[in-house]
Subunit: 363 residues, 2 copies
DNA sequence: TCGACCTAGTGTATCGATATACTAAAACGA
DNA sequence: TCGTTTTAGTATATCGATACACTAGGTCGA
């Protein structure tokens, strides 16, 4: 690979001049000189070494992205949007890491980022404790955290970008209530993201508004480590068992996310229950999978692309080392996509509900 | 952040000695000196700057990973395995890039890797032309290509790791034939990975062996750019239409992968056909999603973890710049997982087939 | 007691690019 | 014509770690 010295020699100028060309200080030279340098760059296929540059400037065009597991389609989706936008808009590449929700792995990722000179990170974490993020900021990083909100009343140097989880869950719950459901449940797993509590609040708020608070339960499917993979079907199965054995089972279920909804549907089916005839389910996320499941899943669509862009913009706009006050950005425009997984409860529609063709299943 | 000079000062030794400690040359000093340096490292929380180190050694502990789209659950799965193994086994971090099956994006990713000093890449590409990979090798990279085989009779500096696609498709097809299917189809999309042709050969070979060659067709669902996402349901829908309008429709379908199978099931369902009663489907990949779909999908499981490890090992074992001859590694141990999406064809079992409880759906 | 050899280190050029400080030559103004 | 700007560059210390080449001082054998 050719270096800046090769180019300088080839163009018969000093390395300084080549550096000036590279950094847009073209006003300091004649047209002809500029042309000669550019020709040399092309001829030698020269690309400045990012490392050497970084060593001097202290900046490297790399963005860290920390996810619990990239095998989870939701995180894969977010990661794709983040990578694409960071690349096209800022010329940044993405360094990815799976944490498996493990404290040590997360910390070690930050260490490595620091050693690599990476100063901007987007974190999707489920760890309750966010202090390690604050520490990273102290060490000069720009940190953007997804899917959780800043601790109220507490200053933070970490930017937060999150969907309006409260509203999303409320929307989902209201939809079930509008279809006549009076026995509601919120299905989740232990060890999930902190955003869960906002969703639970939204769920309970909607139930409360309809006077159904007494019939609204939160069901916990047990611990979940490698979140988002095969484990999910196990959790769904476990939850389905809980419901089947319930003397007064819920008829309308809000799932903490689409994957949970899918796992739940599989579990219910194994237990001999039909969706939506026996039980209605609403998911959250709006994964493409929700459109092709059977039955297709009614879900709350999150603005993934917009959130990804906002995260990248935040990570880029802040100056490294320049800590500012708490700042959060909440994305409200979640909307419900009606599909086939919701119908009136059994009592209302006498056994087999009006489960006909999908009405709005397009796209 | 503290530097090697800070440590040297703190321990009252030269930077050389600190460097010696860092690089395991501890035989050149007294126990006491070593202890003092180590204490200084701990006290100052010193981590050597990878960039400066790389600039000198020409090695950076980074692995490039190129995928068509990380939002595709299959690539997400592979990426997770690759990242985890590279990290735990070699301390390497992963730089990821989405190519959207675009020539220019792929080339630009290689350029950036080179500029970042990255010398090892794992590529999951669908581009027919692999010459840009060869060129990268010429420029000093170690390239491992997934899911395709070396061009026979041609020397290559690119390592190939691939499942035995021929065998996988043959396995899937035989399974359908064993259930009595005589009208077979292979469902794929245009612009898919090159591995497709191996699968098609496997499909046709199995059909031929059973004397069904005349009734075995390859159905192409049209172009597919952002492979693996929502688009898939569209392709499935299109293929389902093709099948419905067929005067003599196939009853057993082998899908090029699980996602295609899932999209196809959705399309068939919309067209009013039941799986497996009217049509049987076998997928390939063994995504966790195949276990929770409705009906759950009979599929050929690929040894993803093993392949990911093999790819990382290959990428690490070869010395950068040390081009060797063509080398490929084919993973044969694919196996069929029987689930619910296959039943005897309609004629054989009179309308509604023996679609009872799953027999082997566990796991 | 001298030279050879070993022990336990150290000095510094180097990797590739940057940017500050510097300058030779030309142009300009009075 | 001389001093001042401006133009069009150049020389080099620097970023942080590495490793080769070197050495002060001690030990040992003859």
């Amino acid at each position: 690979m050719s270096t800046i010295q090769d180019v300088a020699r080839h163009a018969a100028v000093s390395v300084s001049t080549v550096s000036n060309v590279l950094n847009g200080r073209t006003d300091r030279m004649r047209q002809e000189t500029l042309a000669r340098v550019e020709a040399a760059i092309t001829a030698l296929q020269f690309r400045p070494n990012t490392l050497a540059r970084q060593l001097k400037t202290g900046q490297t065009p790399l963005l860290g992205l920390l996810v619990p597991s990239i095998a989870n389609p939701m995180y894969g989706y977010i990661a794709r949007e983040v990578e694409t936008f960071a690349q096209e808009q800022y010329g940044y590449r993405v360094l990815i890491g799976n944490t498996y929700r493990d404290q040590d792995k997360e910390a070690s990722f930050f260490e490595d980022l620091l050693a690599h000179g990476v100063r901007r990170v987007i974190v999707i974490s489920s760890l309750a404790d966010e202090r390690h993020l604050e520490r990273a900021v102290q060490r000069g990083m720009v940190v953007v955290s997804y899917d959780r909100r800043a601790t109220p009343g507490e200053l933070s140097d970490v930017d937060h970008v999150t969907p309006d989880n409260f509203e999303a869950a409320r929307l989902a719950t209201r939809h079930l209530i509008a279809h006549g459901h009076t026995h509601l449940a919120f299905a989740t797993a232990a060890g999930m993201t902190m955003s869960r509590s906002d969703k639970i609040r939204g769920f309970l708020a909607a139930a409360g508004d309809a006077g159904l608070r007494a019939h609204a339960r939160v069901l916990d499917g047990g611990p979940l480590n490698e979140y988002g993979d095969a484990v999910l079907s196990e959790v769904g199965r476990a939850l389905a068992q809980q419901m089947v054995n319930d003397p007064e089972p819920p008829t309308g279920i809000v799932a903490v996310n689409d994957l949970m909804a899918l796992g739940l549907m599989a579990g219910l089916r194994e237990a001999g229950l039909r969706v939506p005839e026996d039980m209605s389910i609403v998911g959250m996320d709006g994964l493409f999978l929700s459109a092709i499941s059977n039955p297709s899943l009614t879900t709350v669509q999150l603005p993934v692309t917009e959130m990804a862009r906002a995260m990248v913009e935040r990570a880029m706009s802040r100056q490294s080392g320049q800590a500012s006050n708490a700042s959060e950005l909440v994305f409200t425009p979640t909307h419900l996509i009606e599909r086939e997984s919701v119908a009136p409860p059994p009592g209302r529609a006498r056994g087999r509900a009006t489960a006909t063709k999908p009405q709005k299943a397009k796209r």
